[in-house]
Amino acid sequence: MSDNNIIISLKRMGKTFYTSAGDVVALEDINLDIREHSIQGIIGLSGAGKSTLVRCINYLEIPTSGQVIFEGRSMGDMDAKSVRESRRKMGMIFQQFNLLDQRNLLRNVTFPLEIAGADKKEAKRRAKELLKLVELDDRANSYPSQLSGGQKQRVAIARALATNPKVLLCDEATSALDPKTTGQILELLKKINKELGVTIIVITHEMAVIEAICDDVAVIDNSHIAESGPVSQIFANPRTEIGRRLILGDGAKNVDFSGDNKKIRIVFDGRKASEPIISDLVLTSKTPVNILFANTKEVEGKAVGQMIIELPENKDDADKIVNYLISKEIKYEEVR
């Protein structure tokens, strides 16, 4: 669910930290339009500046240059009260969950409503409704210390949604979670985006997270946006060294992409792990393929990963391979 209204626009935004040890440029010349109702991914290695970027969006960090436009208004032109009101329209969740340990789950979720001065009864009703959405309504009187990481993050999500925000900022929200729990949280985020229409901004260093839920992605490298666009486009054709490294993994940097022949990237999503796909492909199409790069790992007993193969020069042979992949419903895309 996404349309083309821009809800957040970063214009030539920069952030420099002036420290006693010298100036540290965290972000420079960041230009990014985030579409309303979309899921925008922001990926980068640690230290690339992505956490600073997300904090600039809700002005937890004040950019030192450029502008953050939220719903057509520049955050920089707002007084402190208007900034706080804008923040209420942007929920945020964190890697370390940041729940209030001394409050039970219900009172954690009512917290942002208390701050906004909402009616107590109404706040309680809303909190119960949100705990139901994240499937923790039976734990309303529990305390955060009694929960697992995944449950804590679900409470944090419920809390972030309490004030009916238009945007949900997720700062490495799944980085402290195991793969299975990560999957559940990502499903929940997707559901929130689809059912409530909340625009979601996902900061991560894991490509799998982008692949799982994002519509668009911006690759941050060395304080700049290296490239950005729809996920399918960036994945199919990462134009920058860093994009390639993040998408294909470190091993891919030795792959020679220079040849004339078409290359495709096959994604193993775990469903087909028991089938000998490549052997079948070769036997069925009676065409040899050249494996340029493969990277698979086992997650929860499923093979997940990717492989880059070079298609033969002969177009008919190449089509045979592509048709085989289509018939087997295997995800693939051309890479250059």
Partner: protein, 221 residues
């Protein structure tokens, strides 16, 4: 003099004097110490409203008061005591110096408790649009509560032991008994009873505040 009916009456009266001095001083010192601690944390360089000047001036003042030995402070503030409570003798006269000594101490205790609240939680509150006031009374203080109770156990015990020194300047209380009977008149039995009552008081203070901390802390289940 052994332990007779008269001395029992005296112990009851002086135990009450000790409790009275400690309690009143603790309440007033906390009324001053909590804001001090909050200001220290809030104006710290990674606090919610950094202000180097306020932070360092306050820090220096607190350190000055904390460096003066209590016995010296007791004598130094005598003129102020006279103005505040109208006398320099008795339990009431000990309360002003006790406050001068313990409010800065409590300020530091409160500061260290509030600093235990994770920065991420404060950041989360900010991201929800909380004002600085809301962060102080809805996040910092409630989240630090178990630690503040532990601090109270230590601070109130300290005030109690300070109050025992009041005997030197004509104050009363259990410390004065121990000093006057034990030290000046060699009546060790009286001194020992006074000390035992002090020990019991410390135990009660320590255990009740620690118990309160454990009982109300929702982090350990």
């Amino acid at each position: 003099m052994g332990i007779d009916a008269q001395s029992i009456t005296m112990f009851l009266a002086e135990t009450w004097a000790t409790i009275y001095m400690t309690l009143i001083s603790a309440v007033i010192s906390y009324a001053i110490g909590i804001p001090l601690g909050v200001i220290l944390v809030v104006t710290d360089k990674d606090g919610i409203a950094p202000n180097k000047m306020i932070h360092s001036i306050l820090g220096v003042i607190i350190n000055i008061f904390r460096s003066i030995p209590f016995l010296i402070l007791l004598v130094m503030v005598l003129p102020i005591t006279k103005i505040l409570v109208g006398t320099t003798l008795g339990a009431r006269a000990v309360i002003p110096p006790l406050i001068f000594a313990s409010a800065p101490y409590i300020g530091r205790m409160v500061e260290s408790s509030l600093k235990e609240v994770p920065g991420g939680v404060i950041e989360a509150a900010k991201s929800m649009g909380a004002s600085n006031w809301q962060i102080i009374y809805k996040v910092l203080i409630p989240e630090a509560r178990p630690s503040l109770y532990v601090g109270a156990a230590i601070s109130i015990t300290t005030i109690l032991s300070y109050s025992a020194m009041a005997g030197f300047v004509g104050g009363n209380g259990l410390g004065a008994i121990a000093l006057n009977y034990g030290y000046y008149r060699y009546q060790y039995d009286i001194m020992i009873v006074a000390v035992v009552i002090l020990v019991v008081l410390v135990q009660i203070i320590q255990e009740s505040w620690m118990g309160l901390s454990r009982k109300t802390d929702k982090r350990v289940r």
